[in-house]
Amino acid sequence: MNDSIIPFGKGGLGVIALYLVGLLLIGWYGRRARQEESLRDFYLAGPGVGFIALLLTLYATQYSGNTMLGFSGRAYRTGFTFLVSVHFMISIIIGYLLFAPQLHRLSKKFRFITPTDFLNHRYRSRTVNLLGLGIMVAALGNYLLAQLIAMGRALQGLTTMPPQTAFVAGVIILATIILVYETLGGFRAVVWTDVLQGTILMIGFAALVYLVLDRYGSLGETIKLLLEGDPSDRAKVLPPSANESRRWISYVILFGLGASLYPQAIQRIFAARSERGLQRSLAVMAFLPFTTALIVVFVGVIGAAHMPDLNNAQTDRILTLICREVQAGSAFGYWLVVVLFAAILGALMSTADSCLLTLSSMITKDFYHPYVNPHASEAKLTQLGKTCSWIIVVLMAGLAIYLNQLEQKPTLVKLLDMKFDMLIQLVPAFVVGIHTQKLRALPVALGIVVGLSVTFGLYGNESVQAVGFHSGLYGLVANLLVAGLGSYLVRRLP
């Protein structure tokens, strides 16, 4: 049998099936709770959500399947140097300090639904709107695709079906469930399922700690094993090199600024019912990397000590491999793995559904409504948004299945890197623009174009990689210079 498969019995599969049916029921309740057929009701749940729901939706959305699968693989390969993940997840919350209070207040006053609404309010420029829309749609599409690929791989690890068949089945079944509950209940369904998924995710991380410590002993023993190993093992517990430290700093800036501008996260700032609820949710979020990313890093390091010699492609499956060993150990281990698998599904689906809802809202409200059919009613736009979700998923699922057949597959972490390099180019427009009126639309637009050009121009450049900083940061510097100097010159013009 393939060693990366966790064979679930009828009981385990039954629990997973029940969980998925539960998500559909939540969608149905979300539909019953709707107050009106409007974009605001469908995409932001009308007046919004309170503290607990907001916290769990932020949590479930921010911690994706990549956190558990991709991060553990990365920690396996690089060891404790991947503690950078704890740092960059904290830095996202620091990023919010820069603009969330003002943005929340403006969103309530001017009834924003999508992030582009802020750009439109601030700059009144079609060019800025379209550039912002393009970057956010590309980043969301990228993220959604990564979740769909991870869904296929999750099912591959569950059954003894041929891998490609299991992958296709995983993508189609899970994406269809998301589509059904999201079409039924919109943002309410997404948030309420996030509450369930976020809770299971928290339980899953606790289960992960228990089962790994129970199986492999203390972290101290693992570290001793690595320190006594060959140089590549020792490197996993020793401090990072100068280049890795620069990369570390780069990650902190890239995530702090880039990931805080995730469109689905911005929509959650809009959806906070009160400022106090938003404050409290973000304050708790500042500590959650210690209960998520940190645990995953420990798991990756433990895997590196106890399952050495995995090849590069296998390292992303380290969590599955550990689960398989634990599951075979005892009945209790078996059920812990079932809970953990439900948590992984929750992490994947909660991120995918948020991306999908935000994508459909942006395409419908920011593109179709202003440029295709300005006279469309709210009901028609809401209906179109639902249709849009189905089209997006069909296209993305097709792409995920196609990519899975390729020999050279993009790894989850590579996908993750690209979207932040793009999103960070929106920093002048959002983060600077919300604090000063001195920034003007044309230089801001030009800055984004220059920033993206520099970013993609330097992408994969060996000298840039040797320094350690992400190409998006060079792009951001160029972007800020163009936006700042350009706005200064525009103001000086007679």
Partner: protein
Amino acid sequence: MKRTATKEPPNAYLDWRVWLAFLILFSISVPWYWPETHDQTLIGIPLWVLVTLSSSFFISALTAWLLLFRWPNSSKPEDDANE
């Protein structure tokens, strides 16, 4: 086209002392200053890992404190009434 005025209260988070505090904490928590061969452990964990995690915790605590007690133009108590 004319821009829309966005008059907002000053943001306490933009105070330079806040960012100096973050800079100091990040300077300690990013392990740039440890020799690459440093293998000293404390309670079985590499010392540099413990220092990084401890200072990261302080970064989280500072962030949470700012969010809860230095939120610009903090919301009024009645904001919580509908929760």
